[in-house]
């Protein structure tokens, strides 16, 4: 048996001439929390929908728990989907909703009752069984949808932007609860979102989807700190993207010329290629530092300051001609004003050479 619970092998979905998913290869381990992250229209929901069985792939194979389920309808897969709008049955009580899947499985009444109560307790809605769905708040409806899904103990729980409709505060709370739920059930979750902060805070692995392809895949800190593509660097948060040209590639090192100077990277890349270098705003620090591991950015001129609570985001101009626009995050205690000028530097190891 395979190590992986879910395997997508070259899965594609075409609608006429548009390609919603393009040769997706993806593996999900047992007990993993995977997030499919991407902008709207990127194909992430299509990928989820193919895992759930609501969309039939145009080509490729989908294997769950060692079985090829490519052509198996949703009910006969070990997956359950939690929909974006929850899709709670409006004419049923909370209890009836949660026990629906169990009664479809002809689970004896006593057992059904127990499993339903357990699920409701798990999501913190014990005692809500007799409520009508429309009497609940958005967050509570979300919990009912979760309880309904976990009641049938799916091997894989598929969540289609389940937190999208919630207020920011409840969303943060639900993110934590989702992680707790997933760890305590030991279940495998696949979660779709377009919010990169949400993705980072809940996932074991992120699959970043763009134009039907997986742009980047890995643990959140890796994807954030060492994005492998230009799209990934941009999508995962504010970043300084510098254009550069490879001028040397010898001895396992590559040298790239950019407007802020010559930068050194591990590995050998094609000589003469035009490339992009990414540097996160918080990785630029104030002060003067010297050393072989340091990129000195020289004097910068602050052109705009935006106070963002946890930090101050500054638009600055760097370089000899002051023609390089950079974003810098300064700590909140460091008071900067438009027109200020100061020396800044960054660590060479923080800069990332991007594959275009």
């Amino acid at each position: 048996m395979s190590d992986y619970l879910v395997e997508l092998q070259g899965v594609s979905k075409k609608y006429g001439t548009t390609i919603a998913a393009d040769n997706i290869n993806l593996t999900i381990s047992r007990g993993e929390f995977l997030v499919l992250l991407g902008p709207s229209g990127s194909g992430k929901t299509t990928i989820l929908s193919m895992m759930g069985g609501f969309t039939v792939p145009s080509s490729g194979r989908l294997i769950i728990d060692g079985e090829d389920v490519t052509d198996v309808p949703p009910a006969f897969r070990p997956t359950v989907t939690v929909f974006q709008d929850y899709a709670l049955f409006p004419h049923m009580s909370v209890y009836e909703n949660v026990s629906f899947g169990l009664s479809m499985r002809k689970i004896p009444r006593f057992e059904r009752d127990r499993l339903t109560q357990e699920s409701l307790e798990t999501v913190g809605l014990a005692g809500f069984g007799s409520r009508r769905v429309h009497q609940l708040s958005g967050g509570q409806q979300q919990r009912v949808a979760l309880a309904r899904a976990i009641a049938v103990e799916p091997a894989v729980l598929l969540l289609d932007e389940p937190l999208g409709a919630l207020d920011l505060k409840i969303r943060r709370q639900m993110q934590e609860e989702l992680v707790h739920l997933q760890k305590s059930l030991g279940a495998t979750f696949v979660h779709v979102t377009h919010d990169q902060e949400e993705a980072m805070s809940i996932s074991d692995n992120i699959a970043l989807v763009n134009q039907g392809k997986i742009e980047d895949y890995g643990p959140p800190d890796r994807v954030y700190l060492r994005p492998s593509t230009l799209f990934a660097a941009n999508f995962m948060g504010d970043s300084n993207i510098l254009e550069g040209k490879i001028v040397s590639n010898q001895g396992g090192k590559t040298l790239v010329d950019t407007k802020i100077g010559r930068l050194r990277f591990e590995g050998e890349y094609r000589l003469g290629a035009n490339v992009h270098v990414s540097l996160r705003p918080e990785q630029i620090r104030i002060g003067k530092a010297k050393g072989s591991e340091i990129i000195s950015l020289g004097e910068i001129l602050v052109s705009e300051v935006v106070f963002q609570g946890t930090h101050r985001l500054c638009h600055v101009r760097a370089g000899k001609e002051k023609d390089v626009k950079l974003l810098i995050r300064f700590p909140q205690e460091h008071i900067v004003k438009t027109g200020d000028s100061m020396s800044v530097f960054a660590r060479e190891s923080d800069a990332v050479l991007l594959n275009d």
Binding site: F76, G101, L102, M104, R105, I107, E118
Partner: protein, 290 residues
């Protein structure tokens, strides 16, 4: 926890709902499309000594378009329908406008229901009710004589005017409904924005409200046209024997002579008129939104 296991339902049933549209489609094909096709075929057949002969001929059409009195029925029908339409729109538009913009919103539902309630007046007695009002000793003549406006009862019933009156009464309600439904969909912010940009109330109406309400008028007008041009009861009861409209002519062919080919020719002609009207106002119609 014990695993709840797999669903009991059989796999193959998943696609059963693909057949859900078929009963309705088959029913419509059998009891609507086939009869229309039969009608078209019959219209090219002939009646010889009271029996239908499957001999192909355009004689029925020649007869219909060749005889003045038959063709006149068509003209009459179109005239009466257009007159009805014009008056109904003129009456219904202000009413819908008042409902949508002048009546306070908490009363709107109530007043709207009040306005369309007589829709459900029994169809066969709707025209008859007008007879009670406009006939020689009807309530209107009695009232006019009582207040001394006239000495002799007016001849109002049994004529084109009476037919149009009966139609206008019904279709004013219908058009009010479709126009109102359209007007309330126009966002209040459009009016505010137009006023903010300096448009006066008249300009707001002609540049914003009216153009946006044309689909509501078009839908109501099309339904009115379809129903009015094919209505038998209203001209039969209110119109009297002064003029014949196509539906009356059709019923005469059926009832007196059982002349199905001729009745078919007339029916098809009416349908063609409706199709022409559909293409004229079709671009404003969104039938899928009715």
């Amino acid at each position: 926890m014990s695993a709840p296991g797999k669903p009991v339902a059989a796999n193959i049933q998943f696609e059963l709902s693909r057949w859900a549209v078929h009963p309705a489609i088959i029913f419509t094909l059998v009891f609507f499309i086939i009869p229309l096709v039969a009608m078209v075929i019959i219209s090219f057949w002939q009646r010889i000594y009271g029996k239908l002969q499957a001999s192909w001929t355009v004689a029925n059409y020649e007869k219909f378009f060749g005889r003045d009195y038959l063709l006149e029925a068509l003209y009459n029908s179109i005239e009466v329908t257009l007159l009805t339409l014009a008056i109904s729109i003129l009456l219904a538009y202000p009413l819908a406008y008042i409902l949508a913009y002048k009546v306070p919103s908490r009363w709107q539902r109530f007043v709207l229901i009040l306005t369309v309630l007589p829709f459900w007046t029994a169809y066969v007695v709707r025209s008859y009710s007008w007879l009670l009002i406009i006939s020689e000793n009807g309530i209107l003549n009695v009232a006019l004589i009582a207040i001394g406006l006239i000495d002799q009862p007016l001849e109002m019933a049994y004529g084109r005017g009476a037919t149009v009156l009966g139609f206008v009464h019904f279709f004013t309600m219908l058009l009010t409904l479709t126009i109102y439904a359209n007007l309330v969909q126009i966002k209040a912010s459009y009016h505010k924005a137009a006023a903010d940009l300096g448009a006066n109330p008249l300009q707001i109406f002609f540049r914003i409200t009216f153009p946006l309400s044309i689909p509501g008028v078009a839908v109501g007008a099309f339904i009115t046209f379809v129903i009015a041009i094919g209505d038998y009861i209203t001209p039969q009861i209110l119109g009297g024997s002064t003029e014949v409209l196509v539906p009356q002519a059709i019923m005469l062919q059926i009832a007196r002579a059982a002349n199905f080919p001729m009745a078919s020719v007339m029916s098809i002609t009416l349908m063609i008129v409706v199709v022409i009207v559909y293409f004229i106002i079709g671009k404003y119609l969104k039938m899928d939104r009715i």
